[in-house]
Symmetry: C2
Subunit: 694 residues, 2 copies
C-alpha cells in the first residue's frame, strides 16, 4: 500500500508536469508577431525577470536566517532535524511555481495578442494554454514535493506516520512564507505601477491607458506578471500543499493508518487526471460569442469537478473501507461550497446583477456615495460565504463521525478543503489566463495593432474576470477550511510535546487566554490590511513623482519623438515594493511566537481562530468591494450613467483606484496570512510549550 501510494502521487506529479511542459511547447510554437511586439514583450519579460531575481535575493536572506534559527532549534531538540530542510524545499518549490508561471505568461502575452489578430478563439487557446501551464506546474510541483519527502522520510529515514506528517507540515511554512513575500511584494509592485500610470498618465496628462508615451506603462505590465501571475502561483502552491498535508496529518491523528494519510494524496492525484481531461473540453468554434466562450471554460471546470465528485465515492470506499466511507460527503461538501462561494462572489461583483448595477448608480450623487456603496457591498457580501463555509464545516464534521470522535470530524473538515482544491489544475488555468489576456491587450495598444485586436483581448480579459471570481471562491474558501484544519493540527502537535497536553487542556472559549488570543488574532487582518495598503500608497507616490518628472524633463516625449525611460519606473517599483514587503511578512512570522510566549498554547489557538474568522471576512470584504468597484466602472464605461469621461465615470474611477489595493494586494495577502500564522505556530509549538509565560 505505502509504495503504491508514493508511486501514485509521484505519477500524478509527473503527469501534471509533463502536461505542463507539453502545453508550454505548444504555446511557444505560436508566433510572437511584429518586431515591435517582440520588443515590448521582451521589455516586460526583462522587467519581470529582474524583479523576481532581486526578490529572490531578499527572500534568500530571510530563508537563510530562518534556516539557522530552525537548525539551532533542531540542535536544541525542539524540532526534528528534517524541519530546516523541509522548510527550505517548501519555499523553493513555491517560488519555482511562481517563476515558471511568470515565465510562460511573459512568453504568451505577445503571442496571445498576435493570435487575437486572427480570431478570438485562437487568442483564447494561447492564453488558456499559458494558464494551464501555470495550473499544472503548481499541482505538479506540489505533489512532487510531497511524494519525494514522503519517500525519503518513510523509506530512507524510516519514520513513523506521525513523525512524517509532522515534518511535512514544516514545508508548508516554507511555502507560506514564500507565498506571502510573492503576494505582498508583487501586489505592491503591480498596484503602485498601476496607480502611478493611471494617476499621472490618464488623469493628469490625458493620454489613454497603455499608451507607449506613459513612462510607467511597461512597469504596469510587468506588475501584472509579478503580482497577478507569480504571486498567484506561489499563493496557490501554498494553498494546495497546505490543504493536502494538513489533511494527511489529521488523517493520521484520527485513524492512525496509512490509508487515512493516503486519501488526500490519491484524491489530488486523481484530480490531476480529471483536470487534464477538462482542459481538452475548453475549445469553441471560430466566431464564438462571449457567452459561448464562457460556456467553453465552464465546461472544462465543471467536467473536472463532476468527474472528481463521482470518482471520489468509490475511491473513499476503497481506501477507507466500509466503516468510514461517509467522509465522502465531506469532500463533496467542500467541492459544492467552493462553487457556491464563487457564485456569491460573482453575484456581488458582476455587472450582470443588482449590487454592482446599483453601485454604478450611486456615482450619480458623487464620489463619496460610490465609496460608501462599494464598502457596504463588500461588507454585505461576507454573509453568504460565511454561511456556506459554516454549513460546509458542520456537514464535513458530522458526516465524518465527528459526533463520536472529534479527530474524525476535523479530518473531515480538512478533506473538504482537499476536495475544494482537487481540480486546482484547471480552475487555476481559468484564473491565470486573465493576466495574460490583460497583458496582451497592453501590447496590442502599445504596438498600435488594429482596434478589433484590442476588442478581442478585452473580451478575453473581461471573461477572465468572471472565471477569476470562481477561482477566488475556491482560494478563499479553501484558505478558511485549511486554516481550521491547521489549527486542529496545532493542537495535535502540542499534545505530542512533553508537557504540552496540560498546557492546552482548557480550550474553552471563556478561558481568558483563549479569549484574549481571539481578540488579538481577529485584529491581525485589520493591521495587515492597513500595512499593505500603506505600502501601496507609499510605493505609488514614488512612482507618481517619477512619472511626473519624466513628463516634465524629457523633451519630445508627449509627441512621441522620444521614448520614455521605462526601465527607471520598473526599477523604482521593484525597489519600493521589495522594501515594503519585508515588514508585513516578518510581522506575520513573529506574531504567533510572541503571542505564544505571552499567552501560551491556548492563547495561540484563540489567536488562530480569531485570525481565521476575521481574515476570512476581511479577505472577502476587500476582494468583493474591489471587484464591485472595478466592474461598476466598466459598466459605466459601457455607456450607462453618462459613460466614459463623465463626472460619474470619474467618481467610479476613484472607487476603482481605492479597490485596487483592496482586491489585488491586501485581500489575497490576508488569505495567505491566516495559514502562515498556523504554520509558524505549528513549527514553533515546542518553543511555546517550554517558554510560555501564562
Amino acid at each position: 500500500m505505502d509504495k503504491l501510494l508514493v508511486g501514485l502521487t509521484f505519477a500524478g506529479a509527473v503527469l501534471a508536469l509533463i502536461f505542463a511542459l507539453f502545453t508550454a511547447r505548444k504555446v511557444i510554437k505560436f508566433p510572437e508577431g511584429t518586431d515591435l511586439m517582440k520588443k515590448i514583450s521582451g521589455s516586460i519579460r526583462k522587467g519581470a525577470n529582474a524583479y523576481l531575481k532581486r526578490q529572490y535575493k531578499i527572500v534568500l536572506i530571510f530563508f537563510a536566517v530562518m534556516f539557522v534559527i530552525l537548525s539551532i532549534m533542531a540542535f536544541a531538540d525542539l524540532l526534528t532535524p528534517y524541519v530546516p530542510f523541509a522548510f527550505i524545499t517548501g519555499g523553493f518549490f513555491s517560488a519555482l511555481s511562481g517563476f515558471i508561471g511568470m515565465k510562460i505568461a511573459t512568453l504568451a502575452n505577445a503571442r496571445t495578442a498576435n493570435a487575437c489578430r486572427q480570431g478570438l478563439n485562437r487568442g483564447l487557446r494561447v492564453a488558456f494554454s499559458a494558464g494551464s501551464v501555470m495550473g499544472f506546474t503548481v499541482v505538479g510541483l506540489g505533489l512532487l514535493d510531497i511524494s519525494v519527502w514522503f519517500f525519503l522520510l518513510k523509506f530512507v529515514f524510516m519514520l513513523s506516520n506521525e513523525a512524517i506528517t509532522s515534518a511535512m507540515l514544516t514545508f508548508g511554512m516554507g511555502a507560506s512564507s514564500m507565498a506571502l513575500f510573492a503576494r505582498v511584494g508583487g501586489g505592491i509592485f503591480t498596484k503602485a505601477a498601476d496607480v502611478g500610470a493611471d494617476l499621472v498618465g490618464k488623469v493628469e496628462a490625458g493620454i489613454p491607458e497603455d499608451d507607449p508615451r506613459n513612462p510607467a506603462v511597461i512597469a504596469d505590465n510587468v506588475g501584472d506578471n509579478v503580482g497577478d501571475v507569480a504571486g498567484m502561483g506561489a499563493d496557490l502552491y501554498e494553498s494546495y500543499v497546505g490543504s493536502i498535508i494538513s489533511a494527511c496529518a489529521l488523517g493520521v491523528a484520527a485513524l492512525h493508518t496509512l490509508e487515512a494519510m493516503a486519501l488526500p494524496l490519491i484524491l489530488s492525484a486523481v484530480g490531476v487526471i480529471c483536470s487534464i481531461f477538462g482542459t481538452f473540453l475548453v475549445r469553441t468554434k471560430e466566431g464564438a460569442s462571449q457567452k459561448q466562450l464562457l460556456g467553453a471554460l465552464s465546461r472544462g471546470t465543471n467536467f473536472a469537478a463532476i468527474v472528481i465528485a463521482i470518482v471520489s465515492l468509490p475511491l473513499v470506499y476503497f481506501v477507507l473501507g466500509e466503516q468510514n466511507w461517509t467522509i465522502y460527503f465531506a469532500i463533496l461538501a467542500g467541492l459544492v461550497a467552493g462553487v457556491l462561494i464563487g457564485q456569491s462572489t460573482e453575484y456581488f461583483t458582476s455587472d450582470s446583477y443588482k449590487p454592482t448595477k446599483n453601485l454604478a448608480a450611486t456615482s450619480e450623487t458623487g464620489t463619496a456615495t460610490i465609496i460608501i456603496g462599494g464598502l457596504s457591498v463588500g461588507m454585505l457580501s461576507t454573509l453568504l460565504p460565511i454561511i456556506i463555509v459554516a454549513i460546509c464545516v458542520l456537514i464535513a464534521y458530522f458526516v465524518s463521525g465527528g459526533a463520536e470522535s472529534a479527530p474524525m470530524g476535523l479530518y473531515g473538515i480538512s478533506l473538504a478543503a482537499v476536495g475544494m482544491l482537487s481540480t486546482l489544475g484547471i480552475t487555476l488555468a481559468t484564473d491565470a489566463y486573465g493576466p495574460v489576456a490583460d497583458n496582451a491587450g497592453g501590447i496590442a495598444e502599445m504596438a498600435g495593432l488594429e482596434k478589433e485586436v484590442r476588442e478581442r483581448t478585452d473580451a478575453l480579459d473581461s471573461l477572465g474576470n468572471t472565471t477569476a471570481a470562481t477561482g477566488k471562491g475556491f482560494a478563499i474558501g479553501s484558505a478558511a477550511l485549511t486554516a481550521l484544519a491547521l489549527m486542529a493540527s496545532y493542537i495535535d502537535k502540542v499534545n505530542t510535546i512533553p508537557g504540552g497536553a496540560e498546557k492546552i487542556a482548557n480550550l474553552s472559549i471563556t478561558n481568558p487566554t483563549v479569549l484574549t488570543g481571539l481578540f488579538v488574532g481577529a485584529c491581525l487582518p485589520f493591521v495587515f490590511a492597513a500595512l499593505t495598503m500603506n505600502s501601496v500608497g507609499r510605493a505609488a507616490q514614488s512612482v507618481v513623482k517619477e512619472v511626473r518628472r519624466q513628463f516634465k524633463e524629457i523633451v519630445g516625449l508627449m509627441n512621441g519623438q522620444v521614448d520614455p525611460d521605462y526601465a527607471s519606473c520598473v526599477d523604482l517599483c521593484t525597489k519600493s515594493s521589495l522594501r515594503e514587503m519585508i515588514l508585513p511578512t516578518v510581522v506575520a512570522v513573529a506574531v504567533p511566537i510572541v503571542v505564544g510566549i505571552i499567552l501560551g498554547c491556548t492563547g495561540v489557538v484563540g489567536m488562530l481562530a480569531g485570525a481565521t474568522a476575521s481574515g476570512f471576512l476581511m479577505a472577502i470584504f476587500m476582494s468583493n468591494s474591489g471587484g464591485a468597484w472595478d466592474n461598476a466602472k466598466k459598466y459605466i464605461e459601457s455607456g450607462v450613467h453618462g459613460g466614459k469621461g463623465s463626472e460619474n465615470h470619474k467618481a467610479a474611477v476613484v472607487g476603482d483606484t481605492v479597490g485596487d489595493p483592496f482586491k489585488d494586494t491586501s485581500g489575497p495577502a490576508i488569505n495567505i496570512l491566516i495559514k502562515l500564522l498556523s504554520m509558524v505556530s505549528i513549527v514553533f509549538a515546542a518553543v511555546v510549550v517550554h517558554f510560555s509565560i501564562l
Copy 2:
C-alpha cells in the same frame, strides 16, 4: 446590609437626578438671545420633538410585540413573570434618558450661542451644564431603575439573589433595544440631513455651511440633537445599566453573597458623588485659551477618576472583605484602560499627531489616496485598543483569583467595565456638550451673529471633538468588557435551566458549533455596518432630491427673499430614518434566536465571542477612520495643503462624507449591537435549550 444597599443606590440615583434638575434650571435661566435666535431654536426643538414622538410610536409597536412574546414565554414557564415588565422599564428609561438629554440640548443651543456673545467661558458654562444634565440624568435614571427593581424583587416578591439578577438582566435587553433604535434611527437622520445639506447646499449651490437659505439646514441641526444627543443618551444608559447588572449577576454567581452584588452598585453610587464634585472644577477665567479650556474639562474628569480610584480601595476591602480585596485592581485596570483607549483614539484622530497630519498630506495625490489612507488609519488604530483591552481582561481575571476560580475571574472582568463607567456622569457631560456647541454654531450662523461668536462656538466644538475621543474610548472599551461579562452571564443562565448544563458543556473552541457560531458572529458587525450605511445612503438620496427641488422651484430662495420649506426636509428625514431603522434592529434581535435554534447554546456562545471581537474592531475602525477624515479636513481648512476651496480640500471633503456614516451611524450602533445580542441570548436562553437542533 441589603436595605442599606438599596438605600445607598437609591440615594445615588436621587442625588444625580437632583443635580441634573438643579443644573437644568441654571441653564434655563440664561437668556435665549434675539427673536430670530428664539425662532430658529424653536424650529429645531419642534423638529426634534416631532421626530422623537414618531420614533417612540414605532418603538412602542416593537415593545408591544415583544411584550406579548415575552408574556407568552412567561406563561409557558420559559421565563419568570417579571421579565416582560422589566423589559418594558428598561426600554422606557433608556428612551427617557435620550428624551431629557435632547430636551435640554435644544433648550441650551440658542442660550450657548447667546452666551458666546459675551465670552468663551460663559459659552462653555452653558454648554457644559447642558451636557451635565444629560450625564447625570443617564446615571440617575440607571441607578433609579436598578434600585427600584431590586427593592421590588427583594422585598416585595422575596426572590433569591440569583433570581433577582436574572430578572434584572432583562431590562438590559429593553434598554439595548431602545438604544439601538435611537442610535440607528437618529444616526441615519443626522447623516442623511448632513449629507443632503452639504452635497446640494455647499457643493452644488455654493452657499456656506448652516446658511439659512439651505432647506436642509434645520433638519441638519435637528439631526445633531436626535442623533448625537438622544441617540447617545439612550446608548450610554444602556452601557451603564448593562455593565452594572452583568457585574451583579456575575458577582452572585461567583460568591453567592449579597455583598458581591452590592459592590458594583455602591461603586456606581460613589461614582456619582465623585462626578458631581468633578463638575465644580470645570470653570476657567475669562479670556482663557483653547488649551486652558481643555485643561478645565480634563481637570474635572481626571479629578473624578482619581478620586474614585482611591476611594474604591477601602470600599472593596470593606464590602468584599480581606479575602477578595485584590479585585480592586480589576476596577483600576478598567479605569486605566478606558483612559488609554481614549488616548489612542485621540492619537489616531487628532490633527496634533502624525496619523491625521499624514492623512491630510495624502490629499495632495487626490481623492483615492485620502480614502485609502483613512481606511488604513482606522484599521491600524485597532491594534492598540485591542492590546489594551486584552491586557485589561487578563489583569482583571487574574487579580480577581480567576486562576483558582473562573467565576471570580469573570466577575473581575465585569467590574473592570463598571470601573470604566463609574464616572460616566462627568465623562458623558464632556461628551454631550459637543453637539450643543455645534448647534449653537449653526444658530449663530443662521441668526447672522457677529463673526467672533461663531469663532467661539467653533472653539467649543473643536474642544468637544477632543473630549469626545476620550468619551468614545470609555464607550467602546466598556462595551467590549460588558459584552464579555454578558457572555459569561449567558453561560451561567443556561446552566441554571434544566437540561442546559449538558448542552453547554463543550465550549472548546474546536467544537464545530462554537467555531461556526464564531464565524457567523464575526460576520454580524460587517453586515450590520453595511445595512446602516446603505440606509444612510438611501435616506440621503431622498433629502438630496428634495433640497434640489426646493432650490429649483421656490422663487426668491437664493436671494433670501423667501424662506425655504424647512419642515418638509425634517419630515422627510424623519420618515426615511424611521423606515430604515427597523430592519437592523429586528435583525439584531432575531439573529441570536435563529443561531441558537440551529447551532444550540454552544453556537450562541461562539457567536457572542465572534461578534464581540469583530464588533470591537469594526467599531474602532469605523469611528477612527471617520474621526481622522473629519480632522484631516479641518486641518486642511486651517490653511495647509492648499487650504479651503483647493482641490486637496475637495478630496478631504469626500473623505469626511464617507466618514460621516462610519463614525456617527454604523460605528456607535455596532457598540450597542454586541450587547443586544448577548441580552437577547440571555432572555431567550430557555427557548434555545428546549428547541435547539444541534
